[in-house]
Structure formats: C-alpha cells, structure tokens
C-alpha cells in the first residue's frame, strides 16, 4: 500500500517498516523465471551441496536486492524516488529463512534541490544475522 512520506516528518534514527519474506523454491523459481536466472545451485539441493552449501539449494542474491527495493518503495510511497542502493552479500539465504528487510535513517540533507534521506539497510535472518548490509538514499517529497 503506497503511503506518502514527507522529508520534514522523518527524523534521523527512524526505523522504517520491516519488509519480510520467508523464501523457498516458490520464490526463487518465480524470480528465476523473470530474470532468466536458472542456475542449478538455486534449483537443486545436490548442486547446492556441491557448491559448498551443506543445506542444499539457496536463494539468489538478486532476490534480496529486489526485496530491499520493495521495502524502500513500500515505505516511501509513489511520490518518492529511490536514488541509490548499495549492498554486499555476506551470508547465504537458506530455504525457509525468515528474511527481514530493515532500514534506519542515518542522515537527512538537501542537495541540488532534492530532499534526501540516507539509510543503512540490511536483510536480517531469523538468527539475527545481517546477510546483505548496505545503504540507500531516497528522495522524499517535501511539504515546502
């Protein structure tokens, strides 16, 4: 559901609403089908184990990249613009992991007429592990 969030209403330290998915082959296969990303380590348990993941097949990093964008968009709304997203992949997305996409506002600024918020973002699993730490910058609408 799109909301409109205004730059003036956001404080540094604000934690944006969490965006959660529990993923398995249903999600990975659907993503593979649109991104043409059919790779055996994401589709087959034996291949996952051969790829050094004892638990078998695992999720593609690109899907967590997409989920973080969903989190930002769902919080900021349709009148905002996600300007940058950066991340690194630090841990594997195992089958049935509960993935919480999280973000905290770390700065607010105005640059070239754009009202910006900078966030630290991550995809945290049920073990509290940050699997994809990163940062984002969002242009928010202003009441001005």
């Amino acid at each position: 559901m799109a909301n409109n969030v205004y730059w003036e209403d956001i404080e540094v330290g604000y934690e944006i609403p969490k965006w959660t998915r529990k993923t398995d082959f249903m999600h990975w296969n659907r993503y593979a089908a649109v991104n043409d990303e059919f790779v055996y380590i994401h589709m087959d348990d034996e291949a996952g184990r051969a790829g050094a993941n004892e638990q078998g097949a695992f999720g593609m990093g690109n899907l967590r990249f997409a989920y973080l964008h969903n989190m930002l968009r769902d919080w900021a709304g349709d009148e905002a613009w996600v300007k940058t997203v950066g991340l690194q992949y630090r841990a594997i997305n195992q089958k049935n992991d509960i993935l919480d996409c999280v973000g905290t506002v770390v700065a607010k600024r105005v640059e070239n007429g754009e009202h910006l918020v900078d966030l630290e973002i991550n995809v945290v699993n049920q073990n509290g592990q940050g699997t994809a730490p990163g940062q984002a910058t969002v242009v928010l609408p202003t009441r001005a």
């Binding site: 659907r30 991104n35 690109n62 997409a66 964008h69 968009r73 300007k83 940058t84 997203v85």
Partner: protein
C-alpha cells in the same frame, strides 16, 4: 612451489581500463514484462498498482506504469549468450573470486515501450594486503540509457580476487 605474485593487476586490465564496451540493446520493455517482474518480487502479495494499473499509475508523478527499479530489461536474450568461461577456482594465488557487492544509482524510470542500451567499463581497482593475502578489488561500471538518450541507471560492481 610457485612464486608469490607481487601484483594481481594484469596487463589486460591496464589496457581495458575506461574502455566502454560496444552497447548492447534490449528488446522493447512490455507492460507484461513489468507486471510479471512485479508479481515475482512481491510474491505472495499483490504488487503495487504503479507497476500494473495504468489508471492508478497515471495519477502519480510518473503519469503511467513504470518498472520496479530493480527490473532487468536484459533478461531473456536471443540468441542465448554463451556461458562466460570460469577460470579454475582455488588453484593458486589470484584464482579465488568473490562478489564484492554493488552500488546502483537510479536516474530515470523505465516505461513500457522503452528500449535500453547498456555499456560497461572497468573503471577502477585497488590492491592491498587483507586477511586473505594480496587482494585485488576491481570496479566495473555499467550505464543504461534509453531510446531518448537519457541516462537511466549507473551500476558499480566490485569483484574481489585473491
């Protein structure tokens, strides 16, 4: 016993630096491509209307359906490109590789009917001792432009080799 390398930077890298690849062009993006992508990344929830409901989308600043920002217009190419050759991993210094992450800057939205052009260049590297040994961080930059020549997206991808 092989000699320890004092650099992982190759001559090929030095020659390729800042050389932009021949642009590759996507098929025209369709409303259906956008809708299917949105369904997949939002599954099992219904995706936001901005990505599939033209009437709603026209009421926003975008004045029409746009693609999710993470959308890839280069999926499903024909002919299918050959698999990139992978050098043998773990066979010695400089043959181990890791994805060092990416930073993407979004400049303009992608709309139904857009044709996106992409080009990539090796733009930077730095090398230093880490806990993995001598480690090379290389950055490739990829730029997308649309049929109007507008910049759509800049992506910087870092590869790690040690």
């Amino acid at each position: 016993m092989s000699e320890k390398l004092d650099t992982l930077v190759t001559e090929e890298m030095m020659e390729k630096r800042d050389q932009w690849s021949e642009p590759r062009v996507s098929r025209p993006v369709s409303e259906s491509d956008i809708r299917k992508w949105a369904i997949a990344v939002y599954w099992p929830e219904e995706p936001p209307k901005l990505y599939w409901d033209e009437e709603y989308a026209k009421s926003t600043r975008y004045d029409g359906i746009i693609a999710p920002l993470d959308f890839n217009p280069f999926a499903w190419p024909v002919p299918v490109p050959p698999a990139a050759p992978t050098p043998p991993m773990g066979t010695g210094q400089g043959t181990n590789a890791m994805n060092g992450g990416q930073v993407v800057e979004y400049v303009a939205p992608i709309r139904p009917g857009d044709v996106i052009s992409t080009s990539t260049a090796l733009v930077d590297w730095n090398e230093r001792e880490t806990r993995l040994g001598l480690t090379l961080f290389s950055t490739n930059e990829t730029r997308w432009t649309n049929q109007n020549g507008e910049l759509v997206r800049i992506s910087k991808n870092t590869s790690i080799r040690y």
